[in-house]
């Protein structure tokens, strides 16, 4: 589906696909529904060996990408995650690895040690994200103040943190005065309380996490990098840029995943229309159905297009990356669920049953709607960017 991939990228995507084919069949997913983590021990480490954790981290810091465009590479895995509705903390783990990878060497021992464990898959991370001041993308309320020895004291609550119940470590992006700070917090830190939630996805997990005066030692605070390597449009300080970049990465990966889920639902439904008969004809012979499949095919192609455009812009460090990432969320976040719900409709009664596989993908796109800012919040963010540009 993706034109212009190199042989190595295709190989990477195929390896992930085969791995997930073998381990994430719909029957496997149903069996995992009762599993607290949503996946079996060892699974995440195996995935890490396939390259799920390294693409956003420089080689010097223990990472490495196939093509040099790390997000483009990683998005191929994200797409396969969506197509299989696969479990695992793909997005938070990679946002955390990316953030640590930029600063582990300069930040010293603790950060480097966590990075190593994240890259190998020995540890998993959850990401607690506050919005930079003056912005509203549904972030958590997290504030950091100065602690002893260059450390921080963080307070607040993240009502819904992906993979938060089982994470070994949290990447916390918190407000500090008019800017942002980033730190890693051990799951065992005093004052950190978490509560497992039930959610819409069969194998994705969320938790409510509270931080009650959690003290973070100085060596677990990410230093503000000199070169943000990225022009954010809304904030100018380097830590703000990091927050913006984290957000864009999460948005891109999440849309890639949603596109994969859309593709799976679409393929299933196209096949169904050919095999299901009513009035002595296949459903696929009715123009009403054909036209809806055509609309869906267009939404799917458009979703791919804007997601890949955002990924390319981010990999290239282009200034329009934020705009494209928000547009991707605004578009895919709306048309993804519309597409899969229409697939349900075209399936008829069987479409709303647990035994049918369609809901696996409906769950995945539905989970994507509010995370990292809703489509409506991103539309307003885009309007803000427009206003700023027109005014200048």
């Amino acid at each position: 589906m993706q034109p212009g991939l190199s042989a190595d990228q295709q190989f990477f995507q195929e390896t992930t696909r085969k791995f997930l084919d073998a381990r994430c069949s719909p029957a496997d997913l149903r069996a995992l529904a009762a599993d607290p983590a949503g996946y079996r021990p060892g699974w995440w480490r195996q995935g890490a060996e396939l390259g799920w954790t390294t693409p956003l981290v420089p080689e010097a810091a223990g990472g490495g990408s196939i093509s040099g465009a790390g997000l483009a590479d990683l998005s191929l895995a994200a797409f396969e995650f969506g197509r299989h509705a696969a479990p695992g903390p793909l997005i938070p783990a990679n946002v955390a690895a990316f953030s640590l990878g930029r600063s582990a060497s300069s930040g010293g021992g603790a950060l480097a040690a966590w990075l190593e464990r994240l890259l190998s898959g020995a540890a998993t991370a959850s990401w607690l994200r506050a919005d930079p001041p003056g912005t509203d993308l549904g972030g958590a309320s997290l504030t950091a103040g100065a602690g002893p020895g260059g450390g921080l004291v963080i307070d607040g609550q993240a009502p819904v943190a992906e993979a938060g119940a089982d994470a070994d470590v949290f990447l916390v992006t918190a407000r500090a005065g008019s800017g942002m700070v980033h730190a890693v917090v051990d799951a065992s830190a005093a004052g950190l309380h978490r509560r497992r939630l039930e959610g819409v996805d069969l194998t994705r997990r969320w938790a409510r996490v509270e931080l009650d005066a959690v003290a973070v030692p100085g060596d677990q605070v990410l230093p503000a990098p000199a070169d943000a390597g990225f022009e954010a449009s809304s904030t100018s300080d380097a830590s703000g840029d990091l927050a913006e970049r984290q957000l864009c990465i999460a948005l891109c990966l999440q849309q890639a995943e949603s596109v994969g889920a859309m593709q799976a639902a679409f393929d299933m439904t196209l096949e169904w229309t050919a095999n299901r008969y009513s009035f002595g004809r296949p459903l696929s012979s009715y123009q009403e159905i054909k036209h809806r499949m055509a609309d869906m095919r267009m939404w799917l192609e458009a979703s791919y297009a804007i997601t890949v455009a955002a990924i390319d812009a981010l990999d290239a460090g282009r200034p329009d990356a934020s705009e494209l990432a928000s547009a991707a969320k605004a578009y895919v976040g709306h048309f993804g669920p519309e597409l899969v719900q229409d697939c349900v409709q075209i399936h008829g009664g069987i479409g709303v049953t647990f035994d049918h596989d369609l809901h696996l993908f409906l769950r995945r796109v539905t989970a994507g709607v509010p995370a990292y800012g809703s489509p409506a919040q991103h539309r307003r963010r885009l309007a803000g960017m427009v206003a700023e540009r027109v005014a200048s």
Partner: protein
Amino acid sequence: MSEDVESFRRRARAWIRANLDPAPQGEAGIGRARSDERELARVARAREIQRALFDAGLAGICFPVEYGGQGLSLEHLGAFNQEVAGYDCAADLQIPTFTPCAAVILEFGTEEQKRAHLPAILRGEEMWMQFLSEPSGGSDVAGALTTAVRDGDEWVLNGSKIWTTGAWWADWGLCLARTNWDAPKHRGLTVFMLRIHQPGVEVHRIEMLNGNREFCQEFITDVRIPDSDRVGDIDQGWTVGTRWMFHERTAMGGGSPYVVRPAGSGSAGLVGSGDSLWPLVVAEGRSQDPTALDLVGEAHTLALVGSALTPRIGASMRSGALNDQASALARLYSGTRSVRYATIAYELSGQSGLAWDPEAGDPDPGVGYLMRQAACIGGGTTEMARNVISERVLGMPRETSHDRDTPFRDVPRGPAAG
């Protein structure tokens, strides 16, 4: 060795800045009513610009050199599109003259026809129209009733074409006509090149609901055309027609190599971007209104998605990942996007879109809204695009038809067909 993209870009930039005027606002097309004098002046100016581009070696960037083009790549065209953003670059010639008309001649014309017409087109001397739609129907293009009868070395044409935008000032029509009423629908058609201004071709103007009078209907009576003006084989017009429709859809979706489409780099220059709506929001005092912001963001999203979609589909078609019918995806997108944009613009304009001071006001959003559906009709309807996507891209069953294997003269026609 052809010129590399960057030196071409520099050359184009220098020439454009020295020679072209800023693009006139809202001038071309069907958007609003204009006087005939203004329309003719605009067309004359378009021809001049095209001639100047030709003389500067910048016309027909992706057309072959032997027919007056530059023989360059899509990347060169992309660079030109960026450089020409904001300048007047003969918009009227692009569609339908360069594509589908010139594209069809390039693909199916004889060597003589190509040498006679393509350089003239690229010099701005010939403006072409598509003579496809008929009063009896436009979606069912192959159902053309206009008839050509062979008479020695000539053909005699009779019938009527309709909805041609600008035929009253254009020079030539690419005309699909029936040459065999005993063959089934698709096997009795032939394509001709028809001089518009000649005895026997009567051009009537049709007023659109916004007052624009560019729509035309042509009445063709005993017009004689030399056989040398036939494009493609006799009765094989649908072979030509299929590619013709392809070029049209590609153009409607914005991915044609044969037309110039000014494209600002970044979103400021995007067609239908949120930037173009922001002045309305400010004028209505709604720049803090979440509903208005939501609508601007939605329009902006759709514009950004559109500008990502077209090149993606083009690349997928070139790589073979999608077949060439996939241009219908871009056509469907652009139609539905334009419709949504028109709705949003009218909503954002508030009452100033409803009634305005003719001295000062700008009627665009209200009148644009009235014309909204044109974007989903002209260039082949979005329903036809959905048919193409479902049948030719997704392989779903074709609609049953009552005209496939029957001699065309026996095919049922509704009372409206005349």
